[in-house]
Symmetry: C2
Subunit: 343 residues, 2 copies
DNA sequence: GTGAAAGCGCTAACAC
DNA sequence: GTGTTAGCGCTTTCAC
């Protein structure tokens, strides 16, 4: 069905601006190229003509010539964990401020696997790639390297030190939780682990176990929640369904911790922290809300994003730069979901 | 600092594939163009050469010629309301499945205003634009129309019926809440409104008021929370700080409702729903969590996204198509945060 | 069905 | 400082 159509505009080209301003297309181009040398008068004429015509340079055409698209691809697996939207927002803002833009690729189950997604990304000639909590096979990593597109892993890392990454110090974060729970006098300390394919999950647990060991304790129970809501709940049921139950549980991220708390309080009739202490990891906004008031390990999202932007852009702008593995400090944020030492 | 650099690869062009396959560049192009006519044999040769060389067509170069970038711009204001990440994920998935990709533009305070953002978007020659909860001045709308890029408003609408939009039926949703609260026997019914520049906020409130009026009641108190966490809390304090207080409050979205509940329970020492009933709007995932168990009006995100994709792509693929204002039904999801009729 | 030629909108040498 | 020329990688008439 046709409507009474408003004129669909011709796109304005630099040639038209050039003609109107009485200069060459190169002159127009130079006016819109930050570092170029143009006389004040020419610039003035061109700007006037451009604004009269509503001209703006076509970024895509420019890309073809310069080989730089000023597009950064962001591959992200799950947005239901609020840690990622927060990061996405910060990332997009930071890149926008530096003249880049973010193209999002979901690597979820529903929309093809990471391999296909990766091909599509490269088709857009992205200047760089941020992989947010996406497992990269070494094969995939190699393919990216082969395509010449710099890749930074966000909140994941790999053994391969040719792969840039930005993570928090998950190990020491986990260790801190152990020390905190031991100091709080807990006797039966349990862990609900994240997805075992994720470096974050493994490191948080490793640090936690080391912390227990150093304090002369050992893990009382363990389940795997895979960073998934229903598996986290299932883990909680399994862990707390027996006659004896933990008096503290470290859950590998906040998202799972919320679901675990729900099961403990609603289904098990337990009080948090009186009957059981719960500690999470991430410090997403919801952790501070009254409904959960979750003691957790804070990841400094802003710092992570800032480092990610720095790392990816330095690789984009200087292809010879060495890969970096950035590790950022975490800190424990004590709230009401866990008994405190001396409390 | 230089590292021991892995060869940065030459980008493979269609010319190279053509040469290796012993055909022309046109032939290569046709093999990668869905509807084109190529002989089986040529196709075979080309595909082999392409895969040996690791060739994939450059989408940007293609765009220059076809005038279609297969990029959809998504402008989004706040990602802290979990309604939007959810929508973003669904939108990205749906578009990905149809061969389009999403470029995200944050229209937050930190990164310039909507005007600037809009220019940047158009520079990328996006095929279409989805504005998620972004207020569009009619001036802005006009500019987009002038640039020939179709725009769909997501979760917002305008009086101008030349502007496509996809929203829920916020009016009837608000009305339903009024009926529900009246049926529950509430006497002093209040409202915490959303940002008054948003159609959603106005329509929810208008429907709510109409529902009260139709039931012979009137609004007992009103504050404006602006869809903002701290202003919502301030509203709650103002509203419940007096000697007499509401026995029910309809909050214009879930995000604010969570913060309101926190204030009521932690600061005011009120029980929900025994002392006061709280109803939200959106039905984000958190509403179902035990910490809030919020009675709310569900927006069908999947349907909204599906309609958005349909609307924008139909406009992209047929520039003559008429604008559409899609209105989707909502339904009340009854949980534990409000006293129920006969309960 | 296939190749040759033209050109999308732009920038980067290169002369002047 | 400015214009001329060439060409980024691709698709698309147009002849054959």
């Amino acid at each position: 069905m046709k409507h009474d159509g408003y004129a669909v505009p011709a796109k304005v080209t630099s040639a038209e601006v050039a003609e109107r301003a009485g200069v060459s297309r190169s002159a127009v181009s130079r006016v819109f190229t930050p570092g170029a040398s143009v006389s004040k008068k020419t610039a003035e004429k061109v700007r006037r003509a451009a604004s009269e015509l509503g001209y703006r340079p076509n970024v895509l055409a420019r890309s073809l010539l310069t080989g730089r698209s000023r597009i950064i691809g962001l591959v992200v697996a799950y947005l239901n964990n609020h840690f990622y939207p927060t990061a996405l927002e910060a990332l997009s803002n930071a890149l926008q401020a530096r003249g880049y833009h973010v193209m999002v690729f979901m690597a979820s189950q529903t929309a093809g696997n990471v391999d296909d997604v990766l091909e599509e990304i490269l088709d857009y000639q992205v200047d760089g790639l941020v992989m947010a909590s996406v497992a990269m096979s070494s094969e995939l990593t190699a393919r990216c390297r082969a395509s010449g597109v710099p890749v930074v892993l966000f909140n994941r890392r790999q053994d391969d030190d040719r792969q840039s990454s930005v993570t928090s110090d998950n190990y020491s974060g986990g260790r801190t939780v152990a020390e905190f729970l031991l100091a709080g006098g807990h006797q039966r300390i349990a862990h609900i682990a994240g997805w075992q394919g994720a470096s974050t999950a493994l490191e948080r647990e490793a640090g936690f176990l080391e912390g227990l060991r150093a304090g002369g304790a050992e893990l009382w129970a363990r389940e795997v929640g895979d960073f998934d809501a229903s598996r986290a709940q299932a883990s909680a049921r399994a862990m707390f369904g027996g006659a004896e139950r933990p008096d503290a549980v470290f859950v590998s991220n906040d998202f799972m911790a919320f679901h675990v708390m729900d099961v403990l309080r609603s289904e098990m009739g337990l009080r948090v922290p009186e009957d059981v202490s719960v500690v999470g990891f991430d410090d997403v906004a919801t952790a501070a809300w009254g409904g959960y008031d979750l003691t957790t390990v804070r990841q400094d999202t802003d710092a992570m994003v800032a480092e990610t932007v720095r790392t990816i852009l330095s690789a984009v702008e200087d292809p010879g730069v060495a890969p970096e593995q950035v590790l950022l400090p975490t800190r424990l944020v004590v709230r009401g979901s866990a008994r405190v030492p001396g409390g």
